[in-house]
């Protein structure tokens, strides 16, 4: 007499819960995260407790790292080249919002240099991007 062969579990059945979870994770990351283009260089913005919640703007972002490297619209620039570039950018609409995404370690004088350039280029308002402080 032959013993009945133990029923072989279907391999696909084992995998289905795994797929379910992976799909759930996939949907979570698709919905909860926002896809952003990585910055040209690493910038850690300062932390604030207050401040208005905003979405990361798509355009008009001036990037500045702790060593004073500057980039505007995904293009690395020297401080002297920033002025003409901004003038050109502001030419069609001087009220276009400009956003500064600067590292928390940027010293004040570098910030002032950039603000002088902005002012000379005709911008009169600037938004500073920050992250909310963790409590």
């Amino acid at each position: 007499m032959r013993m009945p062969e133990p029923p072989r579990r279907d391999q696909g059945e084992n995998v289905i819960p795994l797929i379910n979870i992976v799909f759930l994770l996939l949907i979570f990351f698709m919905l909860a995260g926002t896809l952003t283009r990585p910055d040209l260089f690493n910038v850690e913005p300062p932390e604030t407790v207050r401040g208005i919640e905003t979405d990361l703007p798509e355009e008009g972002v001036i990037l500045m790292d702790a060593n004073g490297r500057l980039a505007f619209e995904e293009e690395e620039l020297a401080l002297e080249a920033l002025g003409p570039r901004l003038e050109q950018w502001l030419a069609d609409d001087p009220e276009r919002p400009l956003v500064l995404k600067a590292d928390a370690g940027v010293p004040a004088h570098r910030l002032m240099d950039v603000m002088d350039v902005l002012r000379a280029a005709g911008a009169d308002r600037l938004t500073l991007l920050t992250n909310p402080a963790e409590r």
Binding site: R2, V22, A32, L35, T36, P46, G51, A104, H109, T127
Partner: protein
């Protein structure tokens, strides 16, 4: 009793393994490419070359020294004290201009910390300016 019929294995019409591979790759892509950072913004006005925006009352000047000491109109004080003073002063005139003059090597984090507290105190018209101008 002889049972020799092996259980019928149903073959999946489409292999599951490639599907899982693709889903995993998508998962890894979204995990790496998405960011979960919250963003906040602080509005600063860039003052014109000439004068500060004219107001009946003179602007309040907050200086930040390189060692982090805060000065309001020539008087040293702590951040909490500064916030209290300014909320009193700005309570009388909310549109009063506040000028923040950080020393050259004060970090942006410190400036933002002060700006943050001043906006909590009711400051709405804040400008950053160079020390000694």
């Amino acid at each position: 009793m002889v049972i020799d019929s092996p259980p019928v294995r149903r073959r999946n019409l489409i292999g599951l393994t490639p599907l899982i591979d693709v889903v995993f790759i998508l998962l890894v892509f979204f995990m790496l490419a998405s960011s979960f950072l919250d963003w906040r913004s602080i509005a600063l006005s860039l003052p014109g070359e000439g004068g500060e925006p004219s107001s009946d009352t003179p602007p309040l000047v907050v200086r930040i020294a390189s060692d982090g000491v805060l000065t309001l109109d020539g008087e040293n004080m702590e951040l909490a004290e500064l916030e209290r003073r300014l909320s009193t002063l700005l309570g009388e005139d909310p549109a009063r201009a506040v000028i923040i003059r950080p020393a050259d090597d004060v970090s942006l984090q410190r400036i933002v910390q002060v700006v943050d507290r001043l906006s909590a105190a009711g400051g709405s018209n804040m400008t950053l300016n160079r020390e000694g101008r």
